[in-house]
Symmetry: C2
Subunit: 336 residues, 2 copies
């Protein structure tokens, strides 16, 4: 049982969390940027864009950056995370991460050295090379951004916009970790693991995609478990009811953190998936085999509301018709 | 004849130009970032990294950003250039630009709107979609970075590191343009052109690569005509002698700018190529057919010095053995 849990507290914490509110501007950007491009199968609203190549191949392209405050607090971890979030973006789509480029703006030699050390540590651990980039050597600020290329067969892709009414919602998280000392909202389950362990977790998503065991999926990023599910539902044009009690979690009492902090954390390895009932047991078993806790936490419905329940209590977190998160909606043809 | 031209003045202007000196930190970054990756055919030191895919295919990945001062001076032009420089990076390698992602940090709504308008204008004109990206909506600075994906057949690629002793050096530039009102070091030959015109210029490089008409090539970027040639020679482990009189140029007297400004300019469309003598006339003819002035401006030698000459006067610009520009050297196995 989750101690001191109230659905209202959790809903408010998620809704007003900066990890979620920072996504509100995305919709406007997308409308401004779109041009005709027949080979672009998916773009904004997915973790990575998908470009069809030679009929059956898919090329994936994504970019992600690290909040400047983390860059100042712990440049090594910022560099590590810049790689990690990009690898997650490709893995979440059922694809193979192939290569990255970095764009680095730094105020000092020390920050550059530490960020670079963080990036190359993650690059070597995950086996994804950094093959180029751009360095702004003399900026008044420090920021690290990474873009990533991935490859897949078209028929193994996992999208965010394809959740179906009636699917189970599965949360899969590596609980064997620690609260990162530099950031209380980062659940570090990766820096202490071997290459073989983290690569098996990343590759599992490719198998789930190729065997068509999931209907939709997304990596759990800054908006946390519930915020990420909200984004998936938003682009799928669906809703869901989630039972907070069912969300996989470490021993929060021992860690000394409240449940509403846990659900906002960015896990070192975590995915939200939607899965037909007949595949739920198999999907959970596969995650367990790579050291990740996976559980069915709710069910997709046609409501376009994301509601959380706890011991009979019930609160709506997002009215996706009215508010949205990224403010891109399924009826605007997000995924072309 | 170039008025008031001295080889010493030009050599010093190029050598001490920030567009060149900002490249000095690249070498250190590369050493720190390299990991084993057998499919990576080329990476740092080339305009784009090349990853082998399905035996005969090449996937290209590059990233480039815009100096923050341009972002403040003219956010529309900064956004336009962010796309342009990335399209150049892929075109210079003889490949097709396929899709881009942008990473945007902005201090204000106005800057975001203008940068976005610049990016989408260039994206539509060149026919290369922006398919995703990352937005830092609340930074204390404004910067725009773009990463780009390109594709080619392995046998049509043009590299920087493959110049051969005895080759002619060709500079190809679209002279039909203007000094950009927001930046006296930008030669804008693109904003006033049709999609068909600029796309033909970009596609020409793919034909030159496929027909093996050039031995090496690079787009003329911030370091300007001579600085860019220096970078190409640096990674090729070669030198060259360049005749300043032969460099294609608009009517500088009418524009009111000195020659040493022209050679440091970033042209809207410009490439440095090395070409065997038997192909020089054909390569120049092809550039002429797409509205670009191309001329043989010098010759590659084994010296590892870049020397400029003018009416019998002679000055060494770069001792590439001693100083380097990017400070990555051919014997360090830049291109794997």
């Amino acid at each position: 049982m989750v101690r001191d849990c109230s659905t209202d507290t959790v809903a408010k914490a998620v809704r007003e969390y900066e990890g979620v509110t920072r996504k509100h501007d995305i919709g406007g950007m997308i409308k401004a940027l779109r041009i005709e491009a027949p080979d672009v199968i998916a773009s904004f609203g997915e973790d990575a864009a998908v470009i069809r190549h030679n009929t059956d191949d898919a090329l994936l392209l994504a970019a992600d950056g690290i909040w400047s405050r983390l860059m100042e607090a712990d440049p090594f971890w910022a560099g590590y995370c810049a790689v990690l979030v990009n690898v997650h973006d490709i893995a979440a789509m059922g694809a193979k991460p192939v290569a990255m480029v970095d764009i680095l703006s730094v105020t000092s030699e020390r920050i550059r050295t530490e960020v670079t050390r963080g990036m190359v540590t993650a690059s070597a651990q995950f086996g994804v090379p950094i093959v180029g980039g751009h360095l702004h050597p003399d900026t008044p600020y420090s920021v690290v951004d990474v873009a990533i290329l991935g490859t897949a067969r078209m028929d193994q892709l996992i999208f965010s916009h394809t959740a179906e009414e009636g699917d189970a919602v599965i949360a899969a998280i590596d609980l064997d970790g620690r609260i990162h000392p530099s950031c209380c909202l980062n659940w570090d389950s990766v820096t202490m693991k071997s290459s073989a362990e983290v690569r098996a977790q990343i590759e599992l998503m490719q198998h789930l995609g190729a065997e068509r065991l999931v209907t939709a999926g997304k990596d759990i990023s800054n908006p946390g478990i519930i915020g990420t599910l909200g984004m998936l539902l938003e682009v799928s044009g669906k809703g869901a009811v989630v039972d907070l009690e069912a969300i996989p979690r470490p021993d929060l009492a021992a860690l000394g953190i409240p449940f509403e902090q846990w659900v906002r954390m960015y896990p070192g390895m975590g995915f939200i998936l939607t899965v037909r009932d007949e595949h739920v047991a198999e999907v959970c078993r596969r995650f367990s085999s790579v050291g990740m806790a996976a559980a069915s936490i709710g069910r997709v419905d046609a409501s376009r509301n994301l509601t959380v329940t706890y011991h009979g209590e019930k609160t709506e977190v997002f009215d996706l018709d009215r508010d949205g998160i990224m403010r891109i909606f399924a009826d605007e043809d997000v995924c072309r």
